[in-house]
Amino acid sequence: MDLRETAEEAEFRAAARSWLAENVPRGLPSGDTREGFALHLEWERRLFEDRWAVVSWPEEYGGRAASVWQWLAFEEEYYRAGGPQRVTQNGIFLLAPTLFAFGTQEQQDTLLPRMAAAQDLWCQGWSEPGAGSDLASLTSRATRDEAAGGWRLDGQKTWTTRGAFCTHLFGLFRSDPQSQRHHGLTYFLVPLDAEGVTVRGFSRLDGDEGFAEVFFDDVLVPDDAVLGGVGKGWSVAMATTGSERGLTLRSPGRYTAAADRLLDLARAHPGRLDGSLCDRVVQAYVDAEAYRLFTLRQVSDEQAGRTRMGESSLNKLFWSELDIRLHETAQDLLGPEAEREGPWSKGFQFSLSGPIYAGTNEVQRNIVAERLLGLPRK
């Protein structure tokens, strides 16, 4: 065990901290409104300009080739400095790992720099009206058009986060009309300005236009819109869902920063810390630390080649429930004031989506029981 940062790591952290202290914007509106999104883009581009947008990527794509420890340190500093949730996260944290693993050199060279620079803005196209938890039942289809030298996409995606503000979508389409379940699917990269695409934004629980439905009507995309091979979509996508559930999307810095804010809130209202509220504040701090330590263990084990199928489901279960408990505690501390719009009530509402998105927690519990404990499926 060695919890000390190397000189290089410490230097990296110090550089991040000082840059963030000077540059993190204050009081940005939600990035899930049209006006807010534009302001967030300015911030994302500011990050890119100074090479803080994608620290773990190679330098040629705008990164710093940071180690995972450095990335964790950056995330910790980012949230500690009050940095806002990244509106580019679905591209950078979910698509990019898949592109690095499955993309052609040309796809990588073309797409990654524009993604890092927040020029191309990617949204996710997994769910369909009839395929949510049961993702393998999706029916949006891709039909080969030999004449046009590409594929024609038809169907509908939904729950596409920030879809109304993005420029591109990645998602699964059924390329083999005879196929069932997770066979015969292909992973496509689609510009949302292509002919035949219609995007309709709609509101999340907190009132922001955070969701979109995306309709595909005979949308022609070229062959190089395919990521990872025709018919290979499921296994390519699973690499991404692992990132989504696990560490990549939800680094511990987010929760340790939130726990610190909760401690400050509690200290500011000592008269309300009677009864169980004090215990719950303590628990939020302990849980955030437990998540941080778990991820350090996890990264170390991964680096030592020790990985387990299904482990990212443990992350998902823990961070989603910790996030709710933490925000419920804040709301209960605020008492009748909790109903006012503000960072805590916004965070509370957002936390409630945690057990739903990125694979419902019910599905994650099945995965843990079946893969980590070996319980029978049926």
Partner: protein, 325 residues
Amino acid sequence: MFFGLSDEARELRDGVRDVLAGACTPATVRAAWPGGDAAQVDRLWGALGELGLLGLLVPEAAGGLDLGPLVAVAALEEAGYAGVPGPLVETVTVVAPTLAAHELLPDVLAGRIRVAVQTGSDAVPYAAAADAVLQVDGGVRLLVRDDAKLEPVATVDASRALATVVGEGSPLQVDADLLPARLGTAAFLLGLARRQVDLTVAYVKDRKQFGVAVGTFQALKHPLADAVVDTEFAWPAVLRAAQSLADGDPDAALHVAMAKLLASESAYRVSRVCLQAHGAIGYTTEYDLHLFGKRTWALAADWGSPAQLRSELATLLDLNPRSAT
């Protein structure tokens, strides 16, 4: 010994249910949100007035129905089910009884004007859309809109029409009892909870994943069973507290606090279960669930938050942790 609603009270309750099913649809609830059709809310309040609901606790001599707290909680549970927007609990339990001898009473009972209630905090629910504010804090004063400085405050449930109120109304020579408001809120919460369960049951019977209705999965069945337990065990406590108010029971404050605590916590848990059982659809504002869930969160903390109630109950039960060393 008989514990429950009389047949007469059940009939009245069923009548309220029938009227509200038509007069207060989800569209009506949405009308109370910013940008909504305010006239639709006015029509609803007119209908509530016609029904006599607003005068349930007002003496017949003053134009009310004087049907007592048991009927009132039964009716307010139905109002919660419908998600009636505006200061209904406050009107039935505080405003109308307190203004029983006031010249504004006929307008209040008819639902022509709406009166919010301020009990200490500057921020007053429903004040942004109210014609007057009843200030109950020590004495009782009535502040009409023209004399008030109102500043709307954005809220999660935007139909709450929260506003900070600055101004002091004219004193009234009456007392106001706030316990009935706390209890009425408990009843309203249980109606909200029942509505969310009904929406959810309908959804999980219909929604298919993995080739079957999702309502066949124990992962949804069991939390929904717990939601039933939650509401079923809170409701008798509300009834009991209503009877205690009717009887002037010396333990009425204890009974009301228990009822509100059970209702707040049950309804909150139910809102969580129902949101989760819906998956993503419940997380949109296009679907109706959020109208009832957000009201639940607000009311669970209003008129006594769980933390506040537990602290009061600890004192009433002679548990005084702070006096210890």
